[in-house]
């Protein structure tokens, strides 16, 4: 590989795909910085998996280009895919082979794999996802969560520069979900770029440094997580024994939409610094029991961006 490291782990330009009459992916311009944990979010059916399939060379784009680790796909597949570990649309293995035998087969399929280290790498990958105890069991006897873990183990057979994980926590129990989240953080800390698709916004919010939002085949927003959250108005919640008094002061200092609740007032901060609001309230002799700026959730950002809820798009 050349010494000129690519700035983008994944890049695409005008990436489009139509299946029959449906435009599944439409003019996608992804920019996934090297070293980021990129959350690729969108409702079911918004084109995330088709995008991932195009990135990995499984599906041929109708138009547009994409690069993985600086190399054009699908042309560079042979040289770049050994550096990429991927989980695409759930795990898929031979049901009558054991977990170990399945990984051995995938390892044999990678032309860069060293057969002499296969056993130790497979054992390490299984251990990393907590499957060592079930390594010799047939895949068909695995539970949904174990299958998902095996899929992740397959992506970890080698140290990777890029991991593409499509819905990695699907089917996992809360413990498994936490483990996967921990694993992703660990991989990222090791310097790998992680591209993780999800329809669970809260999960992406906890995991990711960058976010891309898909909606009916289009990328409606993309950037660092904080920037996306900042797109939505910042709100606050004030607890006070005297809400009406607080209301009048808040209106004076320019809070546009204060609303009274039971023992509290909520409103939009806008450009106001939170400390100035509190100072004004105290100066106006309103007792402040608690004042909490409420950070917008990704879900708020999503609704703001798309004007829609987070439902299946047709």
């Amino acid at each position: 590989m050349s010494s000129a490291a690519p700035e983008l782990a994944i890049g695409s330009d005008g990436l489009s795909k139509r299946f029959g009459r449906q435009q599944v992916v439409d003019g996608l311009a992804l920019a996934v910085p090297v070293g980021s944990v990129y959350g690729f979010i969108g409702p079911n059916g918004s084109g995330k998996t088709t995008t991932i399939r195009m990135l990995l060379g499984l599906v041929r784009p109708d138009a547009g280009t994409c690069t993985l680790l600086g190399q054009p796909m699908p042309r560079g597949a042979g040289s770049v895919l050994p550096q990429v570990g991927a989980l695409v649309e759930g795990p898929a293995f031979h049901p009558y082979l054991s977990g170990t035998a399945n990984l051995r087969r995938l390892d044999a399929a990678d032309p860069t794999s060293d057969a002499s280290t296969a056993s130790s790498r497979i054992a390490a990958a299984l251990d990393r996802v907590g499957l060592s105890a079930a390594a010799g069991k047939r895949y068909r006897a695995y539970s949904l969560g174990m299958r998902q873990r095996l899929g992740i183990a397959a992506a970890l057979l080698h140290p990777r520069d890029l991991l593409v994980l499509d819905e990695p926590t699907n089917g996992l129990d809360p413990q498994g979900t936490r483990e996967v989240r921990h694993l992703v953080a660990e991989l990222a800390a090791d310097g790998a770029t992680v591209f993780v698709s999800s329809h669970l916004l809260a999960e992406v919010e906890q995991l990711c440094s960058h976010v891309g939002v898909m909606m009916t085949g289009r990328l409606v927003a993309q950037g660092p997580l904080a920037e996306l959250q900042a797109l939505t108005a910042r709100r606050f919640r004030l607890q006070t024994p005297d809400p009406p008094a607080a209301m009048s002061i808040l209106e004076q200092i320019g809070v546009t939409d204060p609303m009274i609740g039971a023992g509290e007032v909520t409103g939009t901060l806008g450009e106001l610094p939170p400390e100035s609001v509190v100072a004004a309230l105290v100066a106006g002799e309103v007792a402040v029991q608690a004042f909490t700026p409420v950070t917008a959730t990704l879900e708020d950002a999503f609704v703001e961006l798309t004007g829609e809820g987070f439902d299946v798009s047709g």
């Binding site: 590989m1 299946f19 088709t50 399939r53 990995l56 060379g57 499984l58 599906v59 041929r60 597949a77 042979g78 040289s79 895919l81 050994p82 550096q83 990429v84 991927a86 695409v88 649309e89 759930g90 898929a92 293995f93 031979h94 049901p95 009558y96 082979l97 051995r104 087969r105 995938l106 044999a108 399929a109 990678d110 032309p111 860069t112 794999s113 060293d114 057969a115 397959a154 970890l156 080698h158 140290p159 990777r160 520069d161 090791d190 310097g191 790998a192």
Partner: protein, 286 residues
């Protein structure tokens, strides 16, 4: 594990393909269903041997006649008779099962996408699948031939053969010729396997690919049996499959076998190419 190490791995030419081919053979022959299929091919020969033994005990065998009646005089002939009987349906069916699974089976399980991103290039995958089918054809034909010889020898005894031209062949010569016959049959079966490989790239349902391939095989036999279509016969894949009996002539008569091998090769080349053209551009959405 750090990402820095990840970029240094390089391709290991040849080795990788050998390993995956080994894995493929393990997958095909380790599968219970395929082992049962192979046992069935063997069981049929044994069954024929037993049936011949029973009928020979009820009624003394007549002299001369075809290969099947010759078994009663010399068990080694059961190897040839087994090939003759199983070449029409059972061996082609067995190859169809393997071929139907080749690509469609992986697509159906979803393992195709993981092989491709491992990465296995699509041409390499196809070549490995084709190679495994050829091995399957050889093993199928050899099991039938060997099973026939062992069963025949056990039931009827073994001895020097009489060639179709009337001269005597030693046991070793007879077994050598049987081996060649089995390999010749395997070549034809492998060509049918390439038809199946192509069909297997068209669908994600292995059963559908298997049924379609078996139907093609049967259709070829039917066309080959219609006298009005005699102009077509030389072009049919199966037309010269039974020519392996020419190996029992003295001297060995190679004309039909030679042309038969060329027809096999032509079918194999055409359908492997079609499979490649299909898989090369296929969107893998399974």
């Amino acid at each position: 594990m750090s990402a820095g190490e990840a970029t240094t791995r390089t391709r290991r030419p040849g080795l990788g393909t050998g390993r995956l081919f080994g894995s493929e053979l393990l997958l095909v022959f380790g599968r219970r269903r395929n082992q049962v299929g192979l046992a069935t091919l063997l069981g049929l020969v044994v069954l024929i041997g037993v049936a011949l033994k029973v009928s020979a005990m009820r009624r003394p065998p007549s002299r001369g006649g075809d290969l099947v009646t010759a078994v009663a005089g010399n068990g080694i002939y059961l190897g040839f008779a087994g090939l003759t009987i199983e070449i029409a349906l059972f061996l082609p069916l067995a190859v169809s099962v393997l071929a139907g699974d080749a690509i469609a089976g992986e697509a159906n399980l979803g393992t195709l996408r993981y092989l491709l991103i491992a990465p296995v290039s699509r041409l390499r995958l196809l070549a490995i699948k084709a190679g495994a089918l050829a091995v399957g054809a050889v093993i199928g034909a050899l099991v039938v031939a060997a099973g026939g010889v062992l069963t025949g020898a056990a039931l009827f005894g073994a001895g020097p053969l009489v060639s179709l031209s009337g001269t005597q062949l030693s046991v070793a010569d007879g077994l050598w010729r049987l081996t060649l016959a089995a390999l010749y049959v395997a070549a034809g079966l492998a060509a049918l396997g390439m038809i199946g490989l192509f069909v297997s790239t068209l669908t994600e349902q292995p059963i559908a690919a298997t049924v379609a391939t078996a139907m093609v095989g049967t259709l070829l036999w039917i066309l080959d049996a219609v006298p009005q279509l005699d102009w077509l016969h030389p072009w049919l894949l199966v037309d010269r499959w039974p020519a392996f009996v020419d190996l029992l002539r003295e001297p060995v008569f190679l004309d039909r076998i030679g042309i038969g091998l060329m027809v096999d090769a032509a079918y194999a080349a055409v359908f492997f190419t079609l499979a490649w053209l299909r898989l090369r551009r296929k969107d893998v959405t399974s």
